[in-house]
């Protein structure tokens, strides 16, 4: 009986000291901003793929990170929209078969209807009919928007995004918020003449203020067949097509205000001619196909992005530290 009493006491003691240890760790984690990360990882992103030998080269370039990146193969691949450019998805699905184990996609204007294979993409990637969603990967929260369905304030997509951003911003386990959408807010002028290639005003006016409020870090898009990367940008309510550059440092950022916007429409279909350079763009090119590789390292506190051409050369690199 005595022994049992002592055992219970010992058990309670051990439990108390364990709880104290956990509380101590959580306090330290909170102070030093240590998030729920167990290992470094990397992911790839690119859109406007097409179905030709350049698409094959882009797939090969992503697969090559297995040997060229110290973190190994990309653990996640983000499709930024516009895939087969055909009535069915078959050709493109075959092309990406070697890298689609953990692939998430956004819908572009070339697969947004039954006539352009939407149902195939929906089935292959487990999408809902709305095709907007979010998920966490380590300490990164990804939001996949759908610029091909209603998105104005009050729409179900808007309500979902706003609510999701708020939750992600308040989640201590999340250090990065990355938004993916096909059609971009901002772009340099190009030969693409359709209205959506000029940067969509009402999309920008609706979402950029939200991105600022909830501290989105990176916005990935495509639609323009080229590569463009901006300085960190905040919304400019006085003239929304001229965003406020919060930093003019070209490549190394320390938790900047605003978001960095990257267009990666270099999957292989072709290039729109870039005919000028907006002041908020740091780097741009329309001559080489390739993909954006992003490493999350140092216990989830450093994001390093590189645009890797299909010939292996790095055209652009930038990093954000938090």
């Amino acid at each position: 009986m005595k022994t049992s009493f002592l055992s219970i006491h010992s058990f309670i003691g051990i439990l108390s000291s364990s709880s104290l240890s956990i509380l101590f760790f959580l306090s330290i984690a909170s102070i030093y901003n240590i998030h729920a990360v167990t290992y470094d990882f990397n992911f790839a992103a690119v859109g406007d793929w097409g179905c030709n030998s350049n698409t094959d080269a882009t797939v090969k370039g992503i697969a090559n990170t297995k040997t060229t990146n110290k973190l190994g193969a990309a653990e996640l691949v983000l499709g930024l929209g516009d895939y087969s450019y055909q009535p069915t998805a078959n050709c493109w699905l075959n092309k990406v078969a070697s890298i689609d184990d953990n692939m998430k996609i956004t819908i572009g204007n070339h697969e947004n209807s039954a006539k352009t294979g939407f149902n195939q993409y929906k089935k292959s990637f487990g999408l809902t009919s709305n095709a907007y969603y979010s998920f966490d990967f380590q300490n990164v929260h990804f939001i996949i928007m759908n610029t091909q369905t209603p998105y104005t304030a009050g729409s179900s997509q808007y309500n979902f995004i706003k609510d999701d951003l708020s939750k992600a911003d308040n989640n201590d386990n999340i250090n990065w918020i990355i938004v993916v959408m096909h059609e971009p807010f901002y772009t340099s002028p190009t030969s693409c003449k359709i209205k959506s290639c000029q940067g969509i005003g009402n999309l920008r006016d609706t979402y950029h203020p939200l991105f600022d409020t909830y501290k989105v870090d990176l916005v990935l898009g495509a639609h323009l067949h080229d590569y463009q990367r901006s300085f960190p940008l905040e919304y400019n309510s006085a003239s929304s097509s001229k965003p406020i550059m919060t930093s003019k440092i070209p490549s190394k950022y320390n938790d900047p205000k605003g978001e960095i916007y990257v267009i990666v429409g270099t999957g292989g279909i072709n290039f729109h001619k870039i005919i000028g350079k907006n002041s908020y763009i740091v780097k741009q090119q329309g001559s080489f196909f390739g993909h954006l590789n992003i490493d999350i390292t140092n216990k989830g506190q450093v994001l390093t992005a590189k645009f890797i051409q299909n010939n292996g050369k790095v055209f652009d690199a930038f990093s954000i530290t938090k």
Partner: protein
């Protein structure tokens, strides 16, 4: 002995003419664009070529003939006979008459390689009514 004297010029001619014909045959660039027009909404287009530098790169520019500006461009790797059969998408650009120019561009710097020539084909947006 006389027979050999007669055959000698024939053999010499053959050694010059056969490689020359081969060279001409290989350097004869061919390009087929199908279809050679698209709707204003855009169309997938097949580009089929041969006669370019084998196992190298060919650059293509789609040039608006009205203002001589490039609307679309790209490059493809050639096979062992200097050709390729590839698909791209022509859309999202201004209506009008275009020339699609193809040229050898080994180092993919968007420039015609030295001592090489380009070949072009017509393309229109939208398709002309029959």
């Amino acid at each position: 002995m006389n027979r050999y004297y007669i055959l000698l010029p024939v053999i010499m001619s053959m050694t010059i003419i056969i490689p020359l014909f081969t060279l001409i045959a290989y350097s004869q660039k061919n390009v087929t664009i199908s279809p050679n027009c698209s709707t204003e909404e855009g169309s997938e287009v097949t580009l089929e070529t041969d006669g370019f530098e084998p196992n190298s790169n060919v650059h293509w520019d789609m040039v608006n003939t009205l203002n001589n500006t490039i609307a679309l461009s790209g490059y493809f790797t050639t096979n062992s006979s200097g050709g390729f059969d590839e698909r791209t998408y022509v859309g999202d650009i201004a209506s009008g008459h275009y020339k699609i120019k193809f040229f050898d561009d080994a180092d993919t710097n968007d420039q015609l390689d030295i001592n090489k020539t380009e070949i072009s084909r017509d393309f229109s947006i939208p398709c002309k009514k029959q």
